[in-house]
Symmetry: C2
């Protein structure tokens, strides 16, 4: 495997854009990434396109990447449409990384794009609810008491996990509210975030209950957006004529796996397996990280992930949050972008939007939310639900370097 | 790139199975391929799963591969859900090949599965019709005069191509009928084909007109099915303890590309580019081929592809068909499986079903439809439509060898 660099990134603002489609969102993100890399569209050798529910929400199925890319004139190259629920974009990124790392291509485009809003909100909720085994869904819904409720089925799954977490660790609903307040503090500094207001933990607790212990503000919103990255080999990076003073971000590890087998209770959870493998490949550990973007589809998920990513023992998770360690200014800021909760979660775009944030942090161009002297960052992106684990999990580790 | 071998293949019968779903179809194909390879499920290192319209027809979107594979207990590995319309399975196969060729994995599973039939046939037709740019579809439909017709939109696209072909080359509706009669002759010998009856060219011409010059029997049917292949490195192949007397099939070339750019009229069509690249990589030409499986979604497409694959000059295409060269027993039998027209076309499974046929031919186990001493075979699989070309095209070349 040879070194792979992220030469450029781009993303749209995230939000509810009823008048924009996959093409418009994808084009903006791709164009920004190509410009950021100092590359040209006609130099791109292959494209990996993540999208999760375009078929169900917009009707556009089967060749979503070609539809977006042809509107930029970018066809005639291998185009791969990939899907892994909320980890679709990370899956596209992983394949693009692999193609460059193995020498198949010198420059590849990874893009994630999602048009999730719909005039009829139930279309969006129903689409998100397909990221489980539909044949098992009725049984799961009955067990969770969620039949017929007007909300994403995943909120019921997360609420069940949250209740277990509280019983197991003593974490409280107030802790979840503090996660949300932190995310809003960060998103307020991010011009591309869906929600840019600050909120207090009490306001979070006072917001409408979705399903106990989750309140509305503890749940990531429905939204639209696109995010893109240009991955290159070292030779190609040099040919791009990059500014000598500009840092460059190297992919230190890219790991993708699927949920543990229902037949193997001893198998570790997907995020644990992916992160352990990534730490080993990158030659770094949790203590070496300067910033993290993780999959906080709900607030409690952030705390579960502190443990699964090896940041803290179960009994220390609450402390890591409460002492400000993961707040901007702390020793390991988490979700400086605002995360899924506040930056937004257009599901098929999320994985690469996380990469955009880490790349901007490591290049030192994150503006008001800059983590001082950030050198190593991690992204964690999960997708779907199967049995008792995410259906897909991706962990990437990035390092700042100069070429 | 290192050598990659197809250690085993499997597929379901193709047909209308209203009582079977993605899991049932996928499981059967995968289990057969794993057994054929002498491998075990828990040895599989990664899975690439092609499906085109599961979300629209069955509702199961986003994690289709995980849903199918977890029902076999096969999770905890990287699972990639890929989509490229009717070329979805070839795309899965290409990525699995690439992973083994580049040393990322030693054994990978490629599977294509499609549940296309639905109680309401318009659901199937509408799903197939999403393999174009939906925003451009109304305009295309108006130009083709197909608005509101109860048929797959692709039949209108193919009918337009067929009329151009007739004007350009002098090929006739009778030639198209002869293609169909040939495919039925072949499918009658294939126990897994959807249609196993023989028909005369006159019966083809007498069948209901779908849209001139296409009659019902010139169009591939709606159907369900699954197909799978196990790809391995040479070292792993040896470890499988394969019978010394059994031939093994090597992948000589795997090429995937997308349609020509609408901005570049000089770019060759996708199948031409993919096949030229494949011939060069494999070090063989059309004259070296012993058998071909190509994408005859309609009968005229087979004749167009004779030209695009370099089998004949435009003026010689009709002769190649009429003199029996591409019939079983001729010098280059095409679609010995019965092709999409008669074996069937569960769209996301088709690309790997083509591979299954070529592998069985090269291993000498194609039964009554065996091509004598077949050593080199080719598959061509197209997907979707964009501007004036397929949205995706894949060409694979395989060679018989011993290890």
């Amino acid at each position: 495997m040879r070194d792979v660099f992220v030469a450029g990134v781009g993303m749209t603002s995230f939000g509810k854009f009823l008048d924009r489609g996959l093409k418009s969102l994808g084009r903006e993100a791709i164009s920004e990434a190509v410009d950021d890399a100092g590359a040209t569209l006609d130099g791109i050798e292959a494209a990996y396109v993540g999208n999760a529910v375009g078929g169900l929400v917009t009707g556009q199925e089967m060749i979503r990447g070609q539809v977006v890319l042809s509107s930029l004139g970018l066809t005639g190259i291998p185009i791969f449409n990939v899907e892994n629920a909320c980890a679709s974009a990370s899956t596209a990124f992983h394949l693009a990384w692999q193609a460059v790392a193995t020498g198949v291509h010198d420059i590849a485009l990874a893009v994630g794009v999602e048009k999730l809003t719909h005039d009829d909100k139930s279309v969006s909720f129903d689409a998100i609810g397909t990221a489980v085994d539909l044949e098992a869904k009725a049984e799961m819904a009955a067990a969770l008491g969620s039949e017929g409720e007007d909300r994403s089925f995943f909120m019921d799954i997360y609420a069940g996990m949250s209740r277990s977490l509280m019983e197991r660790t003593g974490l409280t609903q107030g802790d979840f509210a503090q996660v949300v307040a932190k995310s809003h503090d960060h998103a307020a500094l991010n011009p591309k975030a869906q929600y840019r207001n600050t909120v207090s933990p009490q306001e979070v607790l006072d917001s409408r209950e979705i399903v106990w212990p989750l309140t509305l503000l503890m749940c990531s919103p429905i939204g639209d957006g696109g995010a893109a990255a240009i991955l290159v080999s070292e030779d190609l990076l040099k040919r791009l004529g990059r500014d000598q003073d500009r840092h460059v971000v190297k992919v230190l590890a890219s790991e993708l796996t699927s949920g543990r087998s229902p037949h193997d209770a001893n198998m570790k959870k997907s995020v644990v397996r992916a992160s352990e493998a990534a730490y080993e490949t990158a030659g770094v550990g949790p203590d070496d990280l300067d910033c993290i973007e993780l999959h906080d589809a709900t607030a409690p998920a952030e705390l579960i992930l502190y443990e699964e990513l090896g940041l803290a023992k179960p009994e220390d998770v609450g402390g890591l949050l409460r002492d400000g360690s993961t707040h901007l200014g702390g020793k390991l800021p988490v979700n400086t972008s605002g995360g899924l909760l506040c930056k937004g979660h257009p599901i098929g775009a999320t994985g690469i939007a996380q990469v955009v944030e880490i790349v901007e942090q490591l290049e030192g161009r994150a503006g008001d939310r800059q983590v001082e002297d950030a050198e190593i960052g991690l992204t964690e992106n999960g997708g779907g639900w199967l049995g008792d684990d995410s259906a897909a999990a991706a962990v990437h580790i990035f390092g700042r370097t100069n070429v």
